[in-house]
């Protein structure tokens, strides 16, 4: 079963971390990716650039309108994700709990099952 594990980051929470803590998060993700690759459960993972660099696009009267900044005014933003293929939802949750972010107050890790895929996973 395929799941998207999304990581919702809070820039203020991340800024307040010490360099050691930041390095530990990076190392934790590296270890997690390696383990997922070895077990044959990783499809792909991506991390996103800072939300301040986002552009919000809408089309009004056929004309595109572009505004700066993230769509939602929130404290947390989508920071990145893991797309995995694993045995069941329990396993997906077990894996999500191994992501360093899940142990940090103010950061959110969410598990959702995939329903449709195209492109990367050609049938």
């Amino acid at each position: 079963m395929k799941f998207l594990i999304s990581m919702h980051i809070n820039p203020a929470v991340l800024d307040a971390l010490t360099d050691e803590e930041k390095a530990a998060i990076g190392a934790g993700h590296g270890k997690f990716i390696e383990a997922l690759k070895n077990s044959g459960e990783l499809i792909t993972t991506q991390a996103l650039a800072d939300p301040s660099q986002a552009a919000v696009v809408s089309v009004r009267n056929g004309q595109p309108v572009v505004t700066d900044g993230p769509f939602l005014e929130a404290k947390e933003y989508l920071g990145g994700f893991y797309l995995i293929d694993c045995e069941n939802k329990e396993r997906a949750i077990e894996l999500a709990a191994q992501i360093p972010d899940s142990a940090i107050e103010g950061l959110g890790v969410e598990v959702r099952q995939v329903m449709f895929a195209d492109g990367l996973l050609e049938a």
Binding site: G40, I43, D85, E87
Partner: protein, 403 residues
């Protein structure tokens, strides 16, 4: 020989060649890689130059050479000499069919179901890693890692290349059948995604089940599983519209059912029901046969379906079986009886909020005339499923009842 015929031949020969190699050299994991390489080489060479006189011997020779090359380079790295590396490869192959031994190994209980299915498809089914990856909609690298991890685990478990005895054999055979059932199901109803059928996996599962049946023709559950697959696969063309929408059993055009598969399945069911002990696959096959026996949905022998589900529930208690029995009960005693049985499932945490429970309840509520509650349950079921085809179907049922 045409390319598809060569492919069929190669897939038939794969487990035989792998068995011969493992018998000679041990080390399943290395042999498995070597056979896969030999099969890839054969695909190219046989298509271009024709099939050799002794295709099995050709594959064994090429795979052995690859294996020995691999061992040589391993030894060279470690700067050691090996007596094995100097071994001359004989072209003749002992005439033992190791399909079962290989299946038992690939379905080793220490592996996850995902690893068991992947390894079975590669080592016994003769599919390439790329083909398996496509079938399960994952990148090839993901599937390659999964297969390689599975082989490491088997090696670590220290399993011998022989059939287990007595009770263990029986237990391990159940795992093998379950893995084949999972492969079939994956092909029949994709667990997620927009494609309802992945017919190749279903066909592959049937081919593997036929191989097991050829080895164990007296085993009732093996016959039962094969029959269940055939009778289910027979409905494939009637199961979806041209647009890919789901058609429920009672609305299917039964003239589109594959009579050849049904006849074969029916024969197997008849033979398997004569076995002294009945197992869950035999009973499910008997249920599928009862449906196949009805020329129209209205002619279904529901009392028989219900009786079979009752026995199935007794020998293999499972909330999904109870759920299916509720459908049969609603047909024999009326929708309220079916709904009453469903309420027994609400406290089962495996079923709470499950889309199948919601959709069956919606269906039975609709039959009682409670359209408002049926609408609500169809909508909740549509949200709960991860299959696009099911979701479209449930939404269309709901929209017909929209208040």
């Amino acid at each position: 020989m045409t390319a598809p015929a060569i492919e069929d031949l190669l897939r038939e020969l794969t487990p035989q060649v792998l068995g011969a190699l493992v018998r000679r050299h041990g080390q399943f994991e290395g042999c498995e890689d070597a056979v896969q390489e030999a099969v890839l080489a054969a695909t190219v060479q046989w298509t271009a130059e024709g099939v050799p006189d002794n295709p099995r011997g050709w594959l064994v020779a090429v795979a052995s050479r690859r294996l020995i090359d691999q061992m040589r380079s391993d030894h060279a790295r470690r700067e050691r000499e090996s007596a094995m590396a100097a071994e001359v490869v004989p072209e003749d192959v002992p005439d033992t069919d190791d399909t079962l031994v290989l299946l038992f190994l690939c379905c080793h209980p220490t592996l996850t179901a995902a690893s068991q299915t992947a390894l079975t498809l590669r080592a016994v089914g003769g599919l390439t890693t790329a083909e398996i990856a496509r079938a399960f909609l994952v990148p090839e690298a993901t599937m390659a890692a999964r297969i390689s991890r599975a082989k490491q685990r088997i090696k670590a478990a220290g399993s011998s290349f022989s059939l287990p005895d007595g009770a263990e054999r029986e237990e391990r055979l159940r795992v093998v059948l379950h893995v084949l059932y999972l492969i079939f199901n994956e092909g029949y109803t994709a667990s997620s995604g927009s494609e309802l059928h992945r017919a190749d996996l279903a066909r592959e599962a049937i081919r593997l089940a036929r191989m097991v049946h050829a080895q164990l023709p007296e085993d009732g559950e093996v016959s039962g599983l094969l029959a269940l697959m055939l009778l289910t696969h027979a409905r494939q063309k009637a199961r979806t519209t041209a647009a890919g929408d789901l058609v429920p059993l009672d609305e299917q055009d039964r003239t589109k059912w594959d009579r050849g598969l049904i006849d074969e399945g029916m024969e197997l069911v008849k033979a398997s029901l004569a076995c002294p002990a009945l197992g869950p696959y035999q009973l499910q096959a008997a249920i599928a046969a009862t449906h196949a026996d009805a020329a129209a949905a209205g002619e279904t022998n529901w009392p028989q379906v219900h009786a079979l589900y009752l026995i199935l529930e007794r020998i293999s208690p499972n909330p999904m079986v109870t759920l299916n029995r509720a459908i049969a009960l609603a047909e024999t005693e009326g929708p309220p009886a079916g709904l009453a049985l469903l309420s027994a499932l609400d406290s089962d945490e495996r079923m709470a909020g499950h889309h199948r429970l919601l959709s069956v309840r919606a269906h039975l509520l609709e039959k009682t005339g409670d359209t408002a509650a049926a609408y609500e349950h169809y909508r909740r079921a549509a949200k709960a499923t991860a299959s696009m085809a099911e979701q479209r179907y449930l939404e269309s049922r709901a929209s017909r009842l929209r208040p």
